[in-house]
């Protein structure tokens, strides 16, 4: 399979601090790939670097083979990469519908076409219809996460990056959100899941990468990697999961 999104020796820094040391990760069309690792391993930095929020060289990030590294974030969206950011980052002071409409507007402006519409999204997450007129800040965490995912999908992405979408949510809500994944993938959208929950990451993905201190320490088919392998890659050295 050809990669829709790939990184090649991706290096990123925050000032003098180097956060990524040559990361090679790829995603194929319709594939779900998990990115796991401890806090500070560089997962969110990786997503920020891909989205053009950190300075990187053009050749380090490729979309369908084209070098796009370091382009402005809105251009990344225009080319088909969307992100569900850490902490959701909804537009406060605006209703649920207006939050989603912003994405619809921009997709229209950029001429991006795809299978997602407001109506289809509301069918996937009915709460988005029931609470359409509610200000986003008065929604529960899980409902806000649905808005954030909806907003990213309405940009009609070919690649969807999800940063810790299960963080702080109840197991029931997490299941509800992850249940939407097959429908998203059926659209041909490649999904990258950055996850803290290793078990969840493994079960929801085709392949996984594990990062440690800015490097990829393990990659493989999610169904095939063992708990011991993940434990070693996650913590480094010869640690194992007990």
């Amino acid at each position: 399979m050809t990669a829709v999104l790939s990184t090649h020796g991706l290096i990123a820094r925050y000032g003098d601090f180097q956060a990524l040391y040559g990361v090679d990760i790829d995603l194929a069309e319709g594939e779900a790939v998990a990115l796991i690792g401890a806090n500070g391993a560089g997962k969110s930095t990786f997503l920020r670097a891909v989205m053009g929020l950190l300075r990187v060289a053009p050749d380090m990030v490729r979309l369908k083979g084209q070098p796009i590294g370091g382009m402005a974030t809105d251009r990344m969206v225009q080319m088909g990469i969307s992100i569900v950011p850490e902490g959701r980052r909804l537009f406060t002071g605006m209703s649920v519908e207006d939050n989603l409409r912003v994405a619809v507007d921009q997709a229209q402006r950029m001429g991006r076409k795809g299978g997602w519409s407001l109506a289809r999204l509301q069918a996937l997450f009915p709460i988005l219809k029931d609470k359409a007129r509610t200000p986003v800040e008065s929604l529960s965490g899980g409902q806000q996460q649905m808005v954030a995912i909806g907003r990213a999908l309405l940009c009609q992405p070919s690649v969807l990056l999800c940063d810790e979408i299960s963080l702080g949510l109840a197991p029931k809500v997490i299941r509800e959100i992850y249940a939407a994944l097959p429908e998203i993938r059926a659209q041909g959208t490649a999904v990258m899941l950055v996850e803290q929950d290793v078990g969840l990451a493994q079960s929801a993905s085709d392949r996984l990468y594990c990062m440690l201190e800015g490097r990829v320490t393990l990659s493989g088919r999610s169904a095939e990697v063992t708990r011991d392998q993940i434990g070693a890659a996650y913590f480094g050295g010869s640690h194992a999961v007990v």
Binding site: V102, A103, A152, C155
Partner: protein, 285 residues
């Protein structure tokens, strides 16, 4: 009757203040950019308008037709050249940059137009009035109020209903998240500042028809605009309009109490609102 007259005159004065306040409501209230040169831009545009009128014999309507597009371009340039470099979570850089701009503009205007007060000849419209039940109502202030209502209505509708308005509100809420949704925040901000300064094009024509303008007058307009936005509540366009009315009525009633007390009365009401309802009349939280 005297007090009712003060109320009517206050509302009409508020119409003028609303025209300063609308641009401020957009820039300060929504985008959280502090533009200290707001008042100086009104004066600059007024003086350009007056020069156009005296050089080419333009009437007030022609001056307005020329001045509003010029103001739009000026606003766009202001954002592109200066404000986009300093915009961010910290309001201090934009404050300092526009403070510098304010000083530079005032001195530039002194250089070009000298310190003399000037006004725009209105061909008699400025002195026409109608009498309703013992109260004289100036025709020009009524036109000013009508324009203020129209502009407020249009700006509010644009913010709430248009694609551009949603993009602007999104960028104001979270610039980075807005760019993650495909918005180019710099372009949206440039357009918003163009609109904010464009409205000052209308204000400039009416200001110089109603009274005189001199290069150092910008400070008062800036203060009135700030006060109106804060009285009304940040982020609310109609709030800024109502805030302008409150300010206008306070000043008009103050003038009736004592001619020296008018402007101070406006400031006192502003302080009263700040002390008792710091989020403004229409502000949330």
């Amino acid at each position: 009757m005297q007090w009712f007259d003060a109320l009517v005159q206050g509302v009409l004065l508020g119409g003028m203040y609303a025209q300063y306040a609308l641009g401020m409501a957009l820039m300060f209230g929504v985008m959280r950019i502090v533009n200290v040169s707001h008042g100086d831009l009104v004066i600059l545009l007024s003086l350009i308008g007056i020069s156009l009128a005296s050089s080419f014999g333009f009437g007030p309507v022609t001056v307005m037709v020329a001045l509003v597009p010029l103001a739009v371009i000026l606003g766009w340039l202001l954002q592109k050249a200066i404000l986009n470099r300093v915009v961010g979570d910290d309001p201090l850089p934009s404050l300092i940059a526009t403070f510098g701009l304010s000083l530079a503009l005032q001195n530039l205007m002194l250089q070009i137009w000298s310190a003399n007060s000037r006004s725009l000849p209105g061909g008699g419209i400025e002195s026409k009035s109608i009498q309703i039940g013992g109260i004289y109502i100036g025709l020009l202030p009524v036109i000013v109020l009508a324009f203020a209502i129209g502009l407020t209505f249009a700006l509010d509708l644009m913010l709430k209903r248009s694609r551009f308005g949603r993009a602007l509100r999104a960028a104001a809420a979270d610039v980075e998240a807005a760019s993650m949704t495909g918005i180019n925040p710099r372009r949206v901000y440039a357009a918003a500042t163009a609109i904010a300064v464009g409205i000052l094009g209308f204000a400039a024509v009416f200001q110089s028809l109603r009274s005189t303008v001199a290069p150092a007058d910008g400070g008062a307009q800036l203060i009135y605009a700030f006060e109106a936005v804060i009285i009304g509540g940040m982020g609310s366009v109609w709030g800024a309009f109502i805030g302008s009315m409150v300010l206008g009525i306070s000043q008009a009633i103050g003038f009736r109490i004592d001619p020296g007390f008018g402007v101070l009365a406006g400031h006192l009401v502003f302080l009263l609102v700040l002390a008792t309802r710091p989020q403004g009349l229409f502000g949330k939280g």
